[in-house]
């Protein structure tokens, strides 16, 4: 029964076609369906902040604006995640610039620094947010959101070998920084 229901539901690509012909309900359904994936990536990179929601909205607005150019060479979700990563990286750059101007701190992260009450998950998230953006995007996709190495390479538009080397370096950095807070 659930299989039959799933087969009757329009695919992302069908929803894009319907949205192109001016069906707002189709686009709304597309947003609802992909919100979780986009939220996962954006919140992992920026924290669950009001800016993260703004970036999330911007992801779908940008997709809506470029929908005519969307030829379906990659999956809709891949395309959305790519926009989400790029906009999150822009937001991190903006934060760094703003913090540098006002407080002379080079922290791009808005994630609260861990204290004695913080649990392991909070500490790990904090340390991930402190990684350089190129490592952060790889860690977010591969280690947090669970995309495969190949999918991560496709989303970021970089070779598989680069994903592996960035992951490896990110893990080493995380191991060092986490050692300050806990025994692994």
């Amino acid at each position: 029964m659930s299989n039959l229901k799933a087969s009757m539901e329009p695919t992302n690509e069908e929803l894009v076609e319907r949205s192109k012909s001016g069906d707002p309900q189709a686009f709304k359904l597309l947003v609802t369906r992909n919100e979780g994936k986009v939220a996962g990536v954006v919140q992992s990179m920026l924290g669950a902040t009001p800016e993260a929601e703004d970036v999330g909205q911007e992801v779908f607005v940008r997709f809506y604006q470029s929908m005519e150019k969307f030829k379906g060479e990659s999956a809709v979700s891949t395309y959305l995640i790519r926009i989400a990563i790029n906009l999150s990286l822009n937001e991190i750059k903006r934060r760094k610039k703003r913090n540098f101007l006002f407080t002379r701190e080079e922290e791009g992260s808005m994630i609260k620094a861990p204290d004695s009450k913080s649990d392991m998950k909070e500490i790990v998230n904090y340390e991930v947010a402190r990684l350089e953006p190129e490592f952060q995007s790889v860690v977010t996709l591969r280690m947090i959101e669970g995309y495969s190495t190949e999918e991560t390479a496709e989303i970021l538009g970089i070779p598989l070998g680069t994903v592996l080397s960035r992951l490896s370096r990110a893990q080493k950095k995380l191991k060092q920084s986490l050692a300050k807070h806990m025994t692994l």
Binding site: K28, Q57, N125, T149, E150
Partner: protein, 141 residues
Amino acid sequence: MKPDEIENLFLLSLDTNLDDSRKQEMVKSMREQAGLAEDLEKYTRIREKLKRNTPATFGPYFAQKVINHIQNLRVEIDQQIVFFFRKYQLAALGIVIALVAVNVIFADSLNLPSVLGIEETVTTADDDLLTFDFYENITNN
């Protein structure tokens, strides 16, 4: 195998089915380098902590907010177009006012055609229109 190569192989093994020979090679290298095996175990623990357990969301009515955002954006674009052309409209109006002012200043009489720069018909006496016969003048003299 170099430690970096083993690490890459380990990372790949997490989402790819390695062939038996590469798998055996990786296990053998990890046995030989105890420190590396320990590191890889730590990485696995970090991964476990990082993995998302609950689905992420931006909160209620997110899809509706996106639709509203798009609709507001359309109004904004329309306003931008109007604003973009407004400066040209104002410039054109300025030129027209300047031309009328010039016409008013240089007009012989202040009537509507002269103010608007409409060409006035020039009336001349019939005598002025008679042709002057140059040869006749010479022979007479």
